[in-house]
Symmetry: C2
Subunit: 165 residues, 2 copies
Amino acid sequence: MKLGSGVEWSIHCLALLGALPPGRSLRLEKLAEFHNLKVAYLRKHFQALSKAGLVATVTGPQGGYRLGRSSDKISLLDIYIALEGDDHCFRCTEIRQDGPCANPALDKPSYSIPCNIAVSMWKAEDAWRKELAKVSIADVLGATAKQVSSEKMERMAQWLTEALA
Amino acid sequence: MKLGSGVEWSIHCLALLGALPPGRSLRLEKLAEFHNLKVAYLRKHFQALSKAGLVATVTGPQGGYRLGRSSDKISLLDIYIALEGDDHCFRCTEIRQDGPCANPALDKPSYSIPCNIAVSMWKAEDAWRKELAKVSIADVLGATAKQVSSEKMERMAQWLTEALA
DNA sequence: GCATTGTGGATAAATTCTATCCATGATTGA
DNA sequence: TCAATCATGGATAGAATTTATCCACAATGC
C-alpha cells in the first residue's frame, strides 16, 4: 500500500509556501521548478489542495499560490485527505455476509454493527491519522530549518527573491 | 490510499483456519467457498501467506491449509506485511535533493539523515503498525464469536464438518 | 484589451490490481 | 506403483488507478 507521489510533492511545496513573506504568492511553475517536479501534474494536486482550502490562489499578474491558512493550522493529515480522500484505507466489502453460512436477512442485527476486523483495522488507521494530525507545516518548516545547511538556506533565500520578482 | 482486497480476504480466511480442529487442514477451494471469493485469486494471496509462514500446507488427498503458527501469534500486521510487503507507505523520493537550490554533493552531510517529512510520515506509519501488531487472529476469533449469531455459529460448525469430510 | 495567472475537464501512457490458466511438484491411498 | 488430490510457480490478460499532458476558459492587474 503506497501513498501517491502527490503527498510528498505537496508537503514540500506547502513548506516552501510557508517560507514566503506574508501576503506574497508563488506561481505554480516556480513551485514545480524548486524541486524539479512536473508542472502539469503538480497543478492537478494543487487543484485538490485549493479545493480543500489548504492553499489560496491569486490569478493574474503577480498571482500564484499561498497557504490557505497559517502554517501551524495545516497538518500532514489535512494534506493527505485533500489529495487522497477521507475514505478508510481498509476496505470492508462485508464478505462475512457472503457464502453458504451467511444469511444476511436473518443475521441482519449482527450485521448492522461493523465487522470486528474492520473495527480493528480502522482503529489502527485512527492511530496513523492522529500522528499525522500532530504535525503541521510549521513543524515541518522548523525541522527543515534545523536540517538544511546554511549554504542551502542562502541559495533558497536568493532563489525566492528572484522567483518573487 | 487503499489496502488491497487480499487483506480483508486473508484475515477472514485465517480466522476460519483458526477455527479448525487441531491438526486439520482446509483446502483452498473450501476457503474460497466460505466467503464466496475467487479461488484463483485467493490462491495468489495464500501463496504469499505460505511464503511468510503464516499458513502451512499439506499437499495430496485430505490436504490443504492450516495456520502456520498458533492463532495468537499471527497479527494483522503479519498478514499485511505478507501480502503487501514491508516497505513504507510514504515514498520519499528525495525531491529535496533536486532543483536549482539543491547541491547533493555539497549538502551530502545533511542529506545522509532522512528527510524530516519522511521521518514524520514514518512515525505515523509506526503508530499504525503498532496497532495492527496488537491484534492477533485469536483476538479476531474471540471478537467474532461474540459478534456472530448462534444460528450462524451452528451453520458454520455444520459447514466445517462437511468441508472436512 | 492583453498578458499572466489559476481552473475544470478531456485524453492517454504506464503501472498496479484483480483474476485466470497451465504445467509442475508433493503427498496420500488404493 | 500409479492415479487422484492437493499446493506451487509463473505466464497471461483485462480492468482500474496513477502519472502526466493538453486545451479551452475564467479571473485579475496593468
